[in-house]
């Protein structure tokens, strides 16, 4: 089986010589390659066959190639999206295969429309779409930032390239080194994303944040700030002439729909059902768009009977008229009279039901199916308006708003009250551009006050664009109202080199843990204990790192939101946090040893949880440290070790950015973060950390550079940048010449997503093209069985 797998690989590789082989097990490589490279080697003597030559030196080129390729891909994408970024951005016209035309400035939509073929590009697009699912914003900034990061990395490798080429490229050791370099960088990036970013955000950026809430406690949204936020958002989303109007419309809609109590639930509802809550009207100028009270159904009445006063409505999901036979039953007709009687009964029954509805003051019948003529006729006789063929989405939205459940036809008597009826304020036809709609004044039972947006535009594409922008805005709200959790650790004072590298390694291991999941944990814990024992003997400091491993692990799993940063030093011992992770109900860790025993038992009892298992292992380690004696002793011994080795004081911070944090637009966030990252990088001891921080700090500037591209004079980018840096250095407040706000949470999420995407790109050293149909997964299963 193993051999077969290899041969498959060979054939695939032969078909795409530009991508060299993957190196799962490097030692096998020369033998493997020699066998199928022989013909290629002969051909390679001819001029113009450089691609084949590249195959012969698979090692060092592999990683470089993928990085370079990624940069090329990102640059192409950047060129496309950068023209739609910011207030000066322009539109892109997309045509669908069906012939429809779509206007868009939405980065995600454009990337989708491009149908990219390149594997790395597709990966980037996948990363972006998963980011968009979370935040609904930032696709274009994603690309630009990614591109600048790749450029920064490329510049570094260019410097080192010379020394690489001068040496023997075919040395496998060199390849390893190169691979390791990328791996190191990607891991450093990940560390940065998980540690440094949050730290810088919390310690430095926090003081610059503004809030859209006029009072933080009650979470009342300040209208002015919301207007600024929306204007900035729509600036990048809809046509240049309309963003002010649309953002005003959205703002009005927001305040009309929200009651004082409503929160995120409303955003979710509107986000889910925005298509049903908007009515697109083509052929009218955009400025005719407006908000109307109530709910509009995208169809006309089948029967309309004007009514006022108390209007009750029911939803039906089946035909009201009884049928001869229902599914699975049989109706036997024995005589003609029987048929006539049953016909008569059906008629009378329908009549009775409609009369009953009428007597219960039901004046509107909403049906998800088409009702027979008979029902329509009796509805009209009983002055009940009927709307048929509602879409499932409309029905579910009405149910969500009113809490109404479908009307079930009573089996026997019609005497009972109709429970499933809702009151509506009004129900009338609405004529928009000579098309008729049903306009219902639903009375909400939840915190959402129903309103509809009528979107007008000369073409459908423009209306769709507005609709999507509105949808994105609601997603952004959801994110904004959540707040972000920040957690990081700070290391202070001097550490020697061996220590820091070990910490690095360990934190890396930590980082991989949540991803690798069970794999790393499934090892029998005795092994680890053994291992740790050995290492304890060899190097005592390692022990100190192990508890840290626990802490950062637990930290991933548990988080208690608190506004002020909470610091826990290693002096009070890391088990504090371990305990919190294991038994969240125990919050006060006053007595160390008591709790430690308790947690120990908890850990013992629940071993299936991977994280708990890990911490259990580590508790074992502490026991070993105490040489199996009483726990307090072990604590003491640990403390002793710490003091002896002058172990750095490590602090774990758990903090969060409160919901509703915003910053002014126009690269404000980027310049701030750039400044503080540079400042931070000067304090870093490790070269990797410094490098990564520098790269990220410089890449951040790419976004304001594009935003201010067309500006001249004092509004040009260098001027703005210098002013901002000067203000920061002298501790003056930053002045922004641009109105508008943007969400900090969105930016934070964006940075995180980009860094994750970049690490993904960097960890790939090879792209293999397979030219056959994707196979079903059960094929693989059968192979596993073999």
């Amino acid at each position: 089986m193993h051999l077969r797998g290899l041969s498959q690989q060979q054939t695939d590789l032969l078909s795409t010589p530009q991508f060299p082989a993957p190196v799962p097990n490097f030692r096998f490589l020369p033998r493997l390659f020699r066998s199928w490279l022989r013909p290629l080697c002969r051909r390679s003597s001819r001029p113009g066959s450089w691609r084949l030559l590249a195959v012969q030196i698979p090692g060092p080129m592999a990683a470089l190639a993928s990085m370079k390729v990624a940069l090329q891909v990102a640059e192409v994408l950047e060129a496309i999206v950068s023209c739609c970024v910011g207030p000066e951005g322009r539109q892109v016209l997309c045509t669908k295969p069906t012939g429809e035309v779509l206007l868009s400035r939405d980065g995600g939509r454009l990337l989708e429309a491009l149908h990219l073929e390149h594997p790395i590009a597709r990966m980037v697009v996948a990363c972006i779409s998963s980011h968009l699912k979370k935040t609904g914003d930032g696709a274009k900034t994603f690309i630009i930032f990614l591109c600048h990061l790749l450029r920064g990395l490329h510049a570094i490798t260019d410097k080192e390239k010379d020394c690489l080429i001068s040496e023997n490229v075919q040395t496998h050791g060199k390849h390893w080194k190169n691979c390791c370099q990328w791996k190191f960088i990607s891991q450093a990036l990940l560390t940065f994303q998980m540690q440094t970013l949050d730290r810088v955000m919390d310690q430095y950026l926090r003081r610059h944040f503004l809030s859209i809430f006029s009072s933080a406690k009650e979470r009342t949204v300040c209208r002015n700030s919301l207007e600024l936020l929306l204007e900035a958002y729509f600036c990048g989303r809809v046509g240049r002439n309309h963003h002010k109007f649309i953002s005003q419309l959205m703002c009005d809609y927001f305040f009309k729909c929200m009651s004082c109590k409503s929160g995120i639930a409303v955003f979710e509802l509107v986000g889910d059902c925005l298509r049903e809550l908007t009515v697109g009207v083509t052929g009218l100028p955009v400025s005719d768009s407006r908000i109307i009270d109530g709910f509009v159904l995208h169809r006309d009445f089948s029967v309309y009977c004007p009514a006022d006063g108390d209007i009750r409505t029911v939803i039906v999901t089946e035909a009201i008229q009884p049928l001869f036979s229902t599914s699975g039953s049989e109706f036997i007709l024995n005589s003609e009279a029987q048929f006539q009687t049953s016909q008569f009964w059906i008629m009378e029954r329908t009549k009775a039901i409609m009369k009953h509805l009428h007597s219960q003051n039901v004046k509107l019948l909403l049906s998800s199916v088409k009702q027979p003529d008979l029902v329509i006729y009796y509805a009209e006789l009983n002055s009940i308006s009927v709307v048929e063929c509602l879409s499932p989405e409309e029905v579910s939205l009405i149910q969500r708003i009113t809490g109404l459940s479908p009307f079930v036809l009573p089996e026997a008597s019609l005497q009972c009250e109709i429970a499933n009826a809702a009151l509506v304020k009004f129900c009338k036809p609405l004529i928009l551009r000579s098309k008729r709609y049903v306009h219902i004044g639903l009375i909400s039972s939840c915190t959402f006050i129903p309103h509809c947006i009528i979107l007008c535009g000369p073409v459908q594409g423009l209306i769709e664009q507005c609709e999507n922008a509105l949808l994105g805005a609601f997603k952004m709200f959801q994110e904004l109202f959540k707040g972000i959790d920040l957690n990081y650790m700070t290391q202070e004072n001097n550490q020697n080199d061996t220590l820091s590298s070990l910490i690095c390694k360990n934190s890396r291991e930590n980082n991989q843990l949540p991803e690798t999941g069970n794999g790393s944990v499934q090892r029998p814990h005795e092994d680890i204990v053994e291992k740790n024992k050995d290492k304890l003997e060899k190097m005592q400091t390692y022990l100190n790192i192990c508890p840290k491993l626990v802490v950062s692990n637990v930290k991933l799993g548990t988080y208690t939101p608190c506004l002020a940063p909470k610091l826990i030093t290693t002096d009070t011992f890391q088990t504090d946090e371990t305990l919190k992770g294991l038994s969240p109900e125990i919050n006060k860790a006053t007595d160390d040893c008591e709790l430690l025993t308790e947690s120990n038992s908890t850990a013992n009892s629940t071993t299936e949880n991977t994280r708990k298992e890990m911490s259990f292992e580590n508790l074992q380690v502490t026991k070993i440290a105490g040489k199996g004696s009483m726990l307090p002793v072990s604590l003491q011994s640990l403390d002793r070790y710490t003091s002896q080795n002058t172990f750095p004081q490590t602090m774990y911070c758990f903090s969060s950015i409160p919901a509703g944090c915003v910053l002014p637009v126009g690269g404000h966030f980027e310049i701030l973060l750039h400044y503080y990252l540079l400042k931070y990088s000067q304090t870093c001891q490790q070269s990797e950390e410094t490098m990564v921080s520098m790269i990220i700090a410089n890449a951040l500037l790419g976004i304001p550079k594009i935003l201010y591209k067309s500006k001249k004079g004092s509004h040009s980018f260098p001027q703005i940048y210098m002013k901002a840096i000067h203000a920061l250095q002298t501790n003056q407040p930053l002045v922004s010449n641009q109105m508008g706000l943007e969400s900090v949470a969105g930016k934070h999420q964006l940075l995180t997503s980009v860094l994750q995407c970049l690490t993904k790109i960097l960890t790939i050293d090879l792209v293999i093209t397979i030219k056959r149909q994707p196979q079903k997964t059960d094929d693989q299963d059968s192979e596993d069985e073999l």
């Binding site: 539109q91 049989e330 005589s335 027979p372 073409v459």
Partner: protein, 570 residues
């Protein structure tokens, strides 16, 4: 699995408007629509190589729906115009030409799209606020107590569609008919909320235009044989009507998802027929004189009705159901029994009518807002064109009720507006400049482009090589023959301006429209006596033209804003 194909990557083009091909295609479209514009516009013959008959037209709605455009930018433009036409019916060509011209003119300025779009928007709002203001010099209020202005409006629409092939006399006749049909749809006792009725267009293809007419009520076409058979049964005086929505053919409708087992010897046909006859008996006992059915009536039931002197007409069709229900005051019946007496309606009279070779039942309602407009024209394509024109005219009249103004036609509104903007930008540019973001030079350039767009639009009314002049007092549109002598003789050669409101007898000075001239202050007050007495004004629908102006500028802005075109090639 083998049918699964990977999606092809899309084609991505940068700065589409700079490409020569796009410019050329835009130019071709502009050429097509410009040559159609106005009363002397040229006709287009459209024929599809794959079938269908040849269509001769000069109307945007027919033209654009039949043209197949492939370039995405043209698609945006044509769909935008078509959407405008479905909204307002009129001013489709106006919108298309304006949009094409605007794109062409502002591109020549070489400014950045951002500036162009921003200024275009400012200029548009300048236009709309002027047109909506009381001081507007090219707008006439509509006096509904007199028909003159409305007649002028309808006649202007008819003359601007040369493909209808109408003579002057025919235009007068059809114009009067359209106005009558429209007036018949207005309810007599109007409260604060007017619900207009409907005028149904009945084709009389092959008849002469002069034979076209308007009748109150509804005409139902019927074969001669049927007419002869049914008419003797008719009773004099008002008739009681029952209108059926459900089929009376005796078919078994939905029996449910389960199975229905019919025992041997049981005839469902007979059972249903019994039901139908029972229904017939009920109708007869309720003294119903006329039974109308949207679908089919069973022959046996028909025979039953005829023996009881009840006139039964079936296969009415769904389109006539609503007007019938309105005209007769009936509720469409959906049941085969237990009919409520309140469902019945009545008609004043039922008579037969014969137009050409066609026979009709004419339902004369008691009091209703439904009327039938019988239109005749020489051939099919001319009739289609006339029908579209009539629909446009009726719609325009409806729009005019909502906004009771009309704009001066014949190019005068365009030249007047251009003169107004020129003057405004020259004298008070601060109103736009205070917004920031552009310089005075940029404003001047774009304003000039905008004005020349409007003027070239007015100029495209002239197809016979004439010269176009404008006066320096009202800013109206005047045309002279191409080989006119010196400007000295102009007062003698010119008779009336484009809209017909001013004549050359006044002390006016003219200049060529295309020449550069100094901005001048406009005389904005309209002569009341001229408005009151004029019978031959050329007028345009206010709502449609304003909408067209907005649609054209918005679409042009949209197209100018495009930086990439991504074509999905799947």
């Amino acid at each position: 699995m083998s049918r699964l194909e990977a999606k092809k990557p899309s084609l991505c083009k940068k700065e589409p408007l700079t490409s020569e091909r796009v410019r050329a295609t835009l130019c071709v479209l502009k050429g097509i629509v410009t040559s159609c514009y106005g009363p002397s516009g040229r006709l287009k013959q459209l024929h599809n190589g794959l079938g269908g008959y040849v269509c001769t037209t000069s109307q945007s709605s027919a033209l654009l729906s039949k043209l197949s455009v492939t370039h995405p930018i043209l698609k945006i433009l044509t769909t935008s115009v078509q959407n405008h036409v479905t909204c307002f019916s009129d001013c489709g060509l106006f919108t298309t030409i304006l949009c094409c011209n605007l794109i062409e003119h502002v591109q020549r300025t070489g400014l950045t799209p951002t500036t162009i779009i921003k200024l275009n928007k400012h200029l548009l709002s300048l236009c709309t606020s002027y047109l909506k203001s009381e001081a507007c010099g090219c707008r006439i209020p509509v006096d509904f107590s007199r028909t003159q202005i409305l007649l002028c409006l309808v006649r202007s629409i008819l003359t601007s569609k040369p493909a209808c092939m109408l003579s002057g006399k025919e235009i007068d006749h059809i114009g009067a008919l359209i106005l009558r049909a429209f007036l018949l749809t207005i309810p007599e006792n109007a409260e604060d909320h007017i619900i207009l009725g409907k005028s149904i267009i009945v084709p009389l293809k092959g008849q002469r235009v002069i034979e076209s007419t308007v009748l109150p009520g509804i005409l139902i076409e019927i074969s001669e044989v049927q007419l002869i058979r049914l008419l003797p049964a008719k009773k004099p005086g008002p008739l009681k009507v029952a209108l059926f929505r459900t089929s009376l053919s005796g078919d078994l409708s939905d029996t449910g998802e389960g199975t229905v087992v019919v025992s041997d010897g049981v005839s469902l046909e007979n059972a249903v027929l019994d039901l139908l006859i029972n229904l017939g008996k009920q109708l007869v006992s309720d003294h119903v004189d006329l039974v109308l059915c949207q679908k089919v009536i069973h022959p046996s039931l028909k025979r039953f009705f005829s023996t009881h002197r009840v006139i039964a007409i079936d296969r009415i069709g769904v389109t006539l159901m609503e007007p019938l229900s309105k005209a007769t005051g009936t509720q469409p019946i959906g049941a085969l029994g237990a009919i409520s007496p309140s469902s019945y309606g009545s008609v004043e009279d039922l008579c037969s009518a014969k137009f050409g070779s066609k026979h009709f039942f004419h339902l004369v309602p008691n009091e209703s807002t439904i009327c039938s407009l019988l239109l005749g024209n020489r051939n099919d394509t001319a009739w289609d064109e006339l029908k579209l024109t009539c629909q446009t005219a009726v719609h325009v009249l409806q729009l005019t009720i909502k906004e009771p103004w009309v704009l001066l036609g014949g190019g005068c509104t365009e030249t007047h507006l251009a003169a107004y903007i020129r003057y405004k930008i020259h004298n008070e540019p601060e109103s736009i400049l205070k917004d920031g973001g552009c310089t005075q030079t940029e404003l001047q350039l774009i304003a000039e482009a905008f004005c020349s767009t409007l003027e070239s639009l007015a100029g495209s009314l002239e197809h016979d090589g004439g010269e176009i002049l404008t006066d320096m007092k009202y800013g109206h549109f005047w045309s002279v023959q191409a080989d006119s002598p010196s400007p000295v003789n102009w007062p003698g050669l010119l008779s009336r301006c484009g809209c017909g409101i001013y004549n050359s007898q006044e002390e006016l000075s003219w200049c060529f429209l295309r020449s550069t001239h100094h901005p001048f202050a406009l005389e904005t007050c309209l002569p009341h006596e001229a408005v009151g007495s004029a019978n031959n004004l050329t007028l345009d629908c206010f709502t449609a033209k304003l909408g067209g102006l907005q649609a054209a500028v918005e679409t042009a802005n949209l197209i100018l804003d495009l930086s990439y075109v991504i074509e999905d090639k799947n």
